[in-house]
Symmetry: C2
Subunit: 214 residues, 2 copies
DNA sequence: ACCTGAACACCGTTCAAGT
DNA sequence: ACCTGAACACCGTTCAAGT
């Protein structure tokens, strides 16, 4: 079954494949072994354990963000592309936000990634203090998720009693009604995500620019 | 050992106690049973399973945020107090961000919480569209965490080779050096969290206000 | 009704044994 | 050196039995 020699790279690639297709919970050492046509214990010759596997997976996601080509001139445009690219990576790997949020150690590549973000700001004329605060302001946006932490539950959502909801949650109901984009799917379709992500991004970028030019 | 009758409330209180003192990983059904002087299987008479326990815990955190008294007049001041209060709750329960981030179902109280936030904005004169985008812009800030996803590893942090770091990560090193607040702890002490949280909060609040008044 | 104890199906991992 | 298979210490949970 084992076509080629195992390696750390092959393990991580297979782990990402399993996570993409079956979710993070399905990624067990035994399942990963089966994916590679090998016993679970063989994996321990290339990685010290499960935690190291997840650390490597988190680092690989950062690497994928860094691999995104960046375009545009000016610090605002460059950061805009960076973060939109990061969001794209996260949409391809829906398990990634939860993984990055749960990791206790910082993925090594994250330092280089943040270094580049800071460099983009300071070379754009922002002070170190403002760049520092900017880094915090972007927060999880630099990793492509702002509001994606709670995944919608498909199925149960359409059974919402709008009349009862209007009584218990008047403001939210009024907003949903006013903001409805897609009538076909009144609960899931009223946020498109991309629009709100870009709004937040521009809000922060414009706020930083205003703070930089007194 | 079992002093009083068990109840869902007693289970959740004990679960929060275990999580606060020993962390979320230590919260197993057997450990929770021991905390209450009872066998693990007794818990299943008051909760359907582990997932329901974690759901209840997530909901209890939202309830604790909602219990914070809110002061101030005007929508910006009220939201400011709300989110600073949410941050305080999360600082008391360091396990909460990871839990809320990992839950697949939405805690029931979150709807009422968001309804109040939307109501604060619309009663302050913001359109439903702007309130909607504001809700997304606040994102995880409404739950008290923006950048707390990666916990610093105490101990290994002080062993950083600043000279090597300056070469590999020039922008980040320059920023850390320029922004150093506490010389005694050069790596952990250069962010105080609270300052950056308030900066982000005001950045978004001011940006929304500017978008509301053309 | 509520609680118990043994058992089952998992999981990550240790260890001695194979090649 | 790399991979295996049995075993160990956990975990959430089922089930029959107690009171």
């Amino acid at each position: 079954m084992a076509q080629e020699r195992l390696s750390r790279e092959r393990l991580l690639a297979a782990a990402m494949r399993v996570a993409d297709t079956e979710g993070l919970k399905a990624l067990t050492m035994r399942r990963l072994g089966a994916e590679l046509g090998v016993e679970a214990m063989s994996l321990y010759h290339h990685l010290p354990g499960k935690e190291a596997l997840l650390d490597g997976l988190a680092d690989a996601v950062i690497a994928e963000i860094q691999d995104q080509i960046r375009g545009g001139t000016g610090w605002k445009a460059r950061l805009r592309w960076r973060f939109l690219g990061a969001r794209g990576v996260m949409l391809r790997h829906p398990w990634a936000p939860a993984l990055l949020g749960a990791r206790s150690s910082v993925p090594p590549r994250l330092f280089a990634y943040f270094d580049e973000i800071v460099g983009t700001m300071t070379e754009g004329g922002l002070s170190h203090r403002l760049a520092h605060r900017g880094l915090h302001a972007f927060g999880t946006m630099a990793l492509g998720f702002t509001q994606e932490l709670f995944r919608p539950e498909v199925g149960a959502a359409s059974e919402v009693d709008l009349a009862a909801m209007a009584e218990a949650l008047p403001h939210l109901t009024a907003m949903v009604t006013a903001e409805l984009h897609d009538v076909a799917d009144p609960v899931l379709g009223w946020c498109d995500g991309q629009t709100e992500f870009e709004f937040t991004l521009d809000l922060i970028l414009d706020g930083l620019e205003r703070a930089a030019t007194p």
